[in-house]
Amino acid sequence: MADLLLELFSEEIPAGMQKRASADLQKIVTNGLVEAGLTYASAGTFATPRRLCLTIDGLLSESPAVREERKGPRVDAPEQALNGFLRGAGLTKDQLEVRDDKKGQTYYAVIEKAGRPAAEIVAEVVTDAIRNFPWPKSMRWGAGGLRWVRPLHSILCILSAEDGAEVVDFEIDGIESANLTAGHRFMAPEWFSVNNFEQYQVELKKAFVVLDAQERADHIWEDAKNMAFAQGLELVEDAGLLAEVAGLVEWPVVLMGDIADDFLNLPPEVLITSMKEHQKFFSVKNPKTGRIEKFVTVANRTTKDNGATILAGNQKVLFARLSDAKFFWENDLRIAKAGMGEWTDKLQNVTFHNKLGTQAERIDRIAALAGEIAPLVGADVALATKAAKLAKADLSSEMVGEFAKLQGLMGRYYAAEAGLPAEVGAASQEHYSPLGPTDVVPTAPVSAAVAMADKIDTLTGFWAIDEKPTGSKDPFALRRAALGVIRLVLENDVRANATALFAKGYDGADAGDLLGFFHDRLKVYLKDAGISHDVIDACLAMPNNDDFTLLVKRAKALQTFRNSDDGENLLQGFKRANNILIAEEKKDGVSYEGTPEVKFAEEDAERELFAALDANEGKITDAIANEDFASAMSALAALRGPIDAFFENVQVNADAQVVRRNRLCLLNRIRATMAAVSDFTLIEG
């Protein structure tokens, strides 16, 4: 048994790539080792800005010998067959054995592979892993041909056992493996030798390198939280930023600094975004006022002035950045308070898509559509129209020009500053939602109207110019838009025929085709909600299938019914009735759509089925008319017993033609009754 330690030491690896790269390194190397017969007990990986590290414990010190027997062609088989066999086995003819088989003399190959020392296998596997590493973006450097994420400088690769460590010898593009690594770039740049992982990790820490990203992140978080707490403040959580910052430092040193008073009145989101995007600072909030009052930055070293110079520098950069933000905010407020006209005018010069006109033209369409949708969601028409007209005005603002992700939110601030109704500001912020399957759906009526109008305009527009998503390509995020409309409709309980809304969208879209696209999205959405595809198909086959609220109500009730015992049995009864009808109708060349009459019934079970249908058909029709699908399903459930009893006791194909015909018409009555609920022929099982 031996332990493997591998460190790939390079120039700074982008923070966002470190985690994935260390996982890939582990997967590729361990797979390669196991494939070559070297099993191991456990493995772990680490990453810092300058190194990827892999440690494997309990690795076999050599791969086991392998003996394999292969049966070949018969001795009298054609030459080509033998040659093919030899190629596959990697042997020559004289190495084959001839054995007597049932069918005659047959060639056999016995391939014996001796075990190989671990070092030899490790060298091959690691070389291969480095040469073919799946970096999302890689580069060459100097005059070499090797690709790595940034120039690779050294490779530490050792196998250690109780009696010491040996370097696994190999060389890649002039880099020779060794047992050396270096500490922190500035604080301890000297190289030192390594015998095993424990010593490696301990020595690195002495050389100001914390190997484990999680340990760095925890340290940063704890220190930052405590510093904020000591001043009665609160650190604003940001897991993504924390992971990124932990990937930018080997020796994290947390420093907290002040935000100049000049900037404390900027919206907190502006401060948070500016500090995060430009400086990778955490924000520190005063919990009493909600204002962002301080920042936390993470340096990569300690200094003899305890970070004073570093903090002063960072503060200065922040001052310049926030001066820009403040300048934008003040300019924007002036335009907002004047009614945002300057911004909406500007949108006349911004192309949305060269076949779909300018942003301004698009906004006019959305406003008209939002007016049409308003009554459906209980919104005031005039307010919805006004909100739609201003919802995207902030796209022209300087702040959104600088920080695109603040779109909508700035609109809300500016609407408030301009004294517009709160609904208008809310619509500006919320109309982009929902952005994905888990994003919150706007429920405020005006926001919902604008959100639906925005998405329907986009969808009908791109449908009209035939720019539909194909395969994995969906550059305009139309799948997301369609799902957004579906979720808006369902979660706001909107009753509307989608095709009628499409007709009010961009001219020239094929509404039927677009509805099909919506149905595909709906299937995915409902599948996640536990509704099977056949149940959805059975409901899609019913009228008004572009009324998504109705459709989903029906599908949910049907799924519940389908999952019940009654449902399962009734389905079997339906299938039986339907199969018999199809077979008999085909055979006889007629359809049994006539009205069955109870007077021709001969058996009790038959009469009971008549009675059950008489008692429940009306209930089903009424329930369906009232869209009370649960009641329709329980009325259906009441048919289950009589139908089961019918099939148990009654021979449909009676000798007497009148009786047979009547029974087939009775089956058809079952089929017709059930068809009012959904298309049961499409349900599997």
Binding site: P14, K137, Q279, F281, T351, N354
Partner: protein, 307 residues
């Protein structure tokens, strides 16, 4: 080793010149044309191509018409200086060399926090890209550090290492100045003491006005077309010169026209006459010129072709 702090803008430039001269770069002079960045200098763009080793450093006045603020913004200028270093093949210790240059201009590594933060570089107009970082000093970007992978559509083999320092910003940081115009240009205490303001305030105003409001767009447009046509005409000329009987491929004169077209595009952009959709088309036209110049250069001796 303690290094004294520089006292003025030009001292920082001089120290960088000395540092890179000591480390084997040919100290070149600015290219005598209007460019948007030091990368456009043929000592970078063209010399990054082909197999011949190269090492050059120079100051390049750079013009970004849209960044003009009439000299009022503390750190935005339509005309500023870049310091540019290009070494091919990139030496293994380029990061350490670079850090040495920061020390040379008075940044004490023991007190500051220097970080290499991912930043992939791409120039759509030059058909060029590379991987590297922006270098942060205490949270401020002080340089771009790039390993060129492709220029003018050609793979860079070997790879050049490129360093770009934004001189004004870097100097303001080192000198502790908050507004660029307040920065000492020559040494404080000189007989005639000059601040950045004395040298550039007036020109920033004049050019801002011209760039934004006065430059004649029809003329600029015509110049753009002329430069494009001339570039193509130069490259279409037969390689064999009938007068000297020599093979003379005119990659550099053609590239001058490409530089011109690029700057004219920037001016048109500042005048606000290029729409979003047209933008891409103009960038594509300049890129085509850059690619054609690169194609020509690699057929020349400096471009690594057999003589």
């Amino acid at each position: 080793m303690t290094i004294t702090k520089p006292t003025c803008f030009q001292e920082i430039i001089l120290r960088l010149q000395n540092y890179w001269a000591e480390h084997g770069c040919a100290i070149m002079q600015p290219y005598d044309m209007e460019v948007g960045a030091g990368t456009f200098h043929p000592a970078t763009t063209l010399r990054a191509l082909g197999s011949k080793p190269w090492a050059a450093a120079y100051v390049q006045p750079s013009r970004r018409p849209t960044d003009g603020r009439y000299g009022e913004n503390p750190n935005r200028l339509q005309h500023y200086y870049q310091y540019q270093v290009l070494i091919k093949p990139s030496p293994p210790q380029l990061q350490e060399l670079y850090l040495g240059s920061l020390e040379a201009i008075g940044i004490d590594m023991e007190l500051h926090d220097i970080r290499f933060v991912e930043d992939d570089w791409e120039s759509p107009t030059l058909g060029a890209w590379g991987l590297g970082w922006e270098v942060w000093c205490d949270g401020m970007e002080v340089s771009q550090f790039t390993y060129f992978q492709q220029v003018g559509g050609h793979d860079c083999k070997p790879v050049s290492g490129e360093l770009t320092y934004g001189l004004e910003r870097l100097a303001m940081y080192v000198l502790g100045v908050d507004h660029v115009m307040d920065m000492p240009f020559n040494a404080p205490g000189s007989a005639i003491e000059l601040k950045y303001r004395d040298v550039f305030q007036q020109t920033e105003q004049e050019y801002s006005r011209w760039n934004f409001d006065i430059a004649d767009t029809d003329t600029l447009l015509q110049h753009f077309k002329d430069a494009e046509a001339e570039c193509e005409r130069i490259l279409a000329a037969p390689h064999d010169d009938p007068k000297t009987g020599k093979k003379i491929i005119m990659a550099h004169p053609a590239y001058d026209q490409c530089i011109k077209a690029s700057h004219l595009f920037n001016l048109l952009d500042a005048r606000g006459v290029i729409s979003v959709t047209e933008r891409q088309a103009y960038i594509g036209r300049v890129r085509n010129l850059a690619k054609a110049c690169a194609d020509a250069f690699v057929q020349t001796e400096a471009g690594g072709a057999a003589a």
